[in-house]
């Protein structure tokens, strides 16, 4: 039983790291994107709507892997496949 506890502890750490690294990467990406957008808008204000549209496109692209990571992290939290695999192996070994 404390093997399952060990697996769950590691899973919790992994979920934390996934969320943290995802947030870290997106924050830096959005900061750079926002800064460049403001610079571009200051240089040529008449392009602001077009730049805003393109900026949102890049927002969605930056978000992608973060949300994929969040999806996996939530999957590990609520339907942990590692625990299931461990339980299947333990059942097969006849414990």
């Amino acid at each position: 039983m404390d093997n399952i506890g060990h697996i769950q502890a590691m899973t919790v750490l992994a979920v934390g790291i996934i969320f943290g690294m995802g947030a870290f990467g997106t924050a830096i990406g959005f900061g750079l994107l926002g800064g460049r957008f403001l610079e571009g808008m200051a240089r040529q204000p008449e392009l602001a709507p077009a730049l805003l549209g393109r900026a949102f496109i890049f927002v969605a692209l930056l978000d992608a892997v973060t949300f994929i990571g969040i999806g996996f992290a939530l999957f590990f939290t609520f339907a942990n496949p590692f625990v299931s695999a461990f339980q299947a192996a333990a059942a097969a070994a006849g414990h």
Partner: protein, 290 residues
């Protein structure tokens, strides 16, 4: 969102509540990872329903097309079509009868999928439960099958367009000629394996990232709604006797509204991105590097 109150004394554990809301309505249990006889009936139902609704509405608006002043709905349809057309024109510089309608369909259909995420979490599943249906997931884009169906269709279209515009040899040759290009044919043959590996990876990454981007965003949004609903998961109205119960109720209402706006915006953005990236990939597939 408030249905846990109305269900009275059922003390469902949070884990059970979450798993209940994450289970699809299938015709049979899947055996293993890839089981083609399993159909997620709820996803199929809602995606077909939304497709018919969208198609019928836009078709009706198109039938009314005239040079006179448009009604409000026709005005809206014309606005959407013009915007999509403008975006496609700025990306795809060829002539195609398929790409702009495809972009319009993908955008509107995926946006309708994502918009269903804003409905209260227990509303439709509760109604369905009263009619005897055990589980119901109303957002088709939280189903990996739907999302991969869309992106694999786009993938097939990309391959089809590539072969049609560049020929089979040209299409396969592109894998060997990018990103490293060496004038000497023997040098090119030497770097070809590296090129092939890199190009193959980025080529396969397209449908996978297209699918998982939409899925991840929508699944995370739905998950936050479930977690917000958990704030009111107590033993019915007895939960209102405590401060914690009241805080949970008010908190879930406020957070629910705030997150609804954000999730609707994210849904719109992701639908737009899916459509735009489809057009970008098809434009890349159609252009020859001359």
């Amino acid at each position: 969102m408030l249905l846990p109150y109305l269900r009275g004394g059922e003390a469902e554990s949070p884990n059970q509540y979450i798993l209940h809301h994450l289970t699809f309505l299938t015709n049979e249990r899947p055996h293993g990872l890839l089981d083609f006889s399993v159909v997620n009936v709820d996803s199929v139902f809602f995606s077909v329903l939304l497709a018919v609704a969208f198609g019928a509405a836009f078709y009706a608006a198109a039938r009314q097309a005239s040079t006179g002043a448009p009604s409000k709905f026709r005005n809206f349809v014309e606005f959407v079509v013009e915007q999509v057309d403008a975006q496609v024109q700025s990306i795809f510089h060829g002539k195609s009868k398929l790409i702009a309608p495809l972009a319009l369909t993908i955008f509107c259909w995926v946006f309708l999928f994502n918009a269903f995420d804003v409905l209260p979490l227990d509303l439709l599943p509760g109604v369905a439960g009263a009619a005897g249906v055990g589980h119901l997931r109303i957002v088709p884009s939280t189903d990996l099958n739907v999302v991969f169906g869309l992106s694999l269709t786009v993938f097939v279209l990309i391959i089809f367009y590539s072969i049609k515009m560049k020929g089979l040899v040209g299409f396969l040759g592109e894998f060997a000629l990018h990103p490293l290009r060496v004038p000497n044919p023997i040098g090119q043959a030497a770097v070809a394996p590296f090129n092939i590996v890199v190009e193959f990876a980025s080529f396969l990454a397209r449908p996978v990232s297209l699918a998982l981007r939409l899925y991840g965003n929508m699944f995370a949004g739905e998950m936050v709604f479930i977690l917000i609903a958990l704030l009111t998961l107590t033993k019915g109205f007895a939960g209102l006797a405590s401060i914690g119960g009241w805080l949970g109720l008010i908190g879930s209402l406020v957070l629910g509204v705030v997150w609804s706006f954000f999730d609707l915006f994210i849904g719109f953005l992701q639908a737009f991105i899916f459509a735009i990236l489809t057009v970008v990939y098809l434009a890349q597939a159609s252009e020859t590097h001359e």
